[in-house]
Symmetry: C2
Subunit: 301 residues, 2 copies
């Protein structure tokens, strides 16, 4: 009722003045614009730009496939060479400023992956939430963890790269913040995407496996007691070290910490980052946080 | 005048009904919402998600730096090995389905780069347009080409990678759709970003250098008459072959063409793609173009 009342009043206000420019205001009386007026989110007509690029474009698929190709070559070479193996998992007590590497002794080799937007693209849930105009809904995501198997896609290059690594004798392990309560759903989603078998607490580690919540450090340490982790992959810094998620880090501080001289050499060389411009702690910041004053520009008047 | 009129009428319509849910509609009467009502674009309060990820996040910088590291290693190895050099520029008449490679004879080696979002991040212009709520304005962009020098940033890893390639005896060439009329502005922008000297029609090729407009194929052929192009880099498929921009290619067709069995091996191995979820022909498509029916999902009711 109130909506129709608003329409008629705005229509009236527009009818009252019909210069061409103002006529342009009329399309604003669409269902979406009206939804906005009553505080609802409009249903989008196309996916967000980041989803168009990542899930739809050739370029998004190619950048992901390039990372997988580089990682597979690195892992294969590292597995086959005879040198004493070291693992890049951050040792207990070390920080991203001063990562410590440990000798592996005779442990079997492993590569550790995040799952979401690293092994699989969650296209089923992402499309549903985007079509609903929802940024993220934990309840919907929980349903997705339970029932999304078969609706998630292996990322471009993942199937081939995992085969190369496994053929070189490297165990593939997933360490994800999906919940342990939905372990079977995640095992099924990874298998049905064509990525092979992942078994909870053997080759699949989930949030709830230890008391440290969303930090993956404890699970990384658990994995490192059994395996020599020669490579790690993810789409967010927390997939490599929880210290990157420290509270109060500004956008610029976080970027500098992750590219400081002790860490920079690891990227593409033991640590492998996949592009995810769709969601996550990587995506935040106002204009003054994203851009520096030194590069501020405006056209000549 | 008409705006104030609209405010008062909407305010009135809301004042007429004051259930809690409807009270939420009041904030909609902000300057931005009102601008929308009269057909203007609201001024955003933060950059678009793609800009937050690419220009601000550690992850965006790391993915770009990884591509540069991989490319520098590839180019250096290719330059130093004794095998007969071949170039990956598509030969005249060849298509992305059947790329032809040509022997280089004794030509000097070169690596060919797009400029925008491949060598430099156009943060000055991107911030200005985003703050104005403008997607893209050719007139503003033209001003940026002329006066943006010093306000564009070398992409993460670019300075180090270009040094590695030049030290290996490889000439760095830019092939961009910036206009030849603004050649000096682009030479200055690249130099002031720390990327070294680029000279128009020697190491910098621009739109207008030949009659074929935005196609870079003719310029690639010109470069290939003088150089052995052992690697190419860009953020859009047109930086590699104009055929990828053929009219009428669907989002899926374009992705399949660029990842077909004849092309897929080139990515990360002669052809290097940088992430750009901000602008360009890579970013288009509705829900049914970005997502396949096979992965459609919704939560259990």
């Amino acid at each position: 009722m109130m909506r129709r009342f608003t329409i008629s009043l705005i229509a009236l206000s527009l009818a009252g003045c019909s210069a061409p420019g103002q006529q342009l205001a009329v399309p604003v009386l669409s269902k979406d614009a009206l939804a906005t007026q009553v505080g609802e989110k409009p249903s989008p007509t196309s996916p967000p730009t980041g989803q168009q690029w990542l899930y739809g474009s050739a370029e998004g698929s190619i950048v992901s496939a390039q990372v997988y190709k580089t990682m597979a070559q690195y892992v294969r070479a590292k597995a086959l060479n005879r040198a004493i193996k070291t693992q890049t998992v951050l040792a207990k007590g070390s920080t991203p400023d001063a990562p410590r590497f440990e000798s592996c002794g005779t442990k079997p080799l492993a590569a550790v992956f995040d799952a979401d937007e690293t092994l699989i693209w969650n296209v089923g849930a992402m499309r549903y939430m985007a079509e609903q105009g929802i940024d993220f809904d934990p309840a919907i995501w929980n349903e997705w963890e339970k029932s999304g198997a078969g609706k998630a896609l292996a990322m471009p290059g993942a199937v081939e790269a995992l085969k190369t690594m496994r053929d070189a004798g490297v165990t593939i392990i997933a360490n994800t913040n999906r919940t342990a309560a939905n372990a079977k759903g995640t095992e099924d989603a990874l298998r049905m995407a064509g990525l092979g078998e992942f078994k909870h607490q053997e080759t699949l580690y989930l949030m709830g496996d230890d008391p440290t919540g969303s930090s993956k450090d404890g699970r990384r340490a658990t994995i490192a007691t059994k395996y020599c982790v020669i490579a790690m992959a993810g789409d967010q810094l927390g997939d490599f070290a929880h210290a990157f998620n420290a509270n109060g880090l500004s956008v610029a501080d976080r970027r500098m910490l992750a590219t400081n001289p002790a860490i920079l050499p690891l990227w593409g060389n033991g640590w492998f980052m996949f592009p995810n411009p769709v969601y996550g702690p990587s995506i935040r910041g106002g204009f003054d946080e994203i851009y520096s004053p030194q590069t501020k520009w405006e056209p000549a008047k």
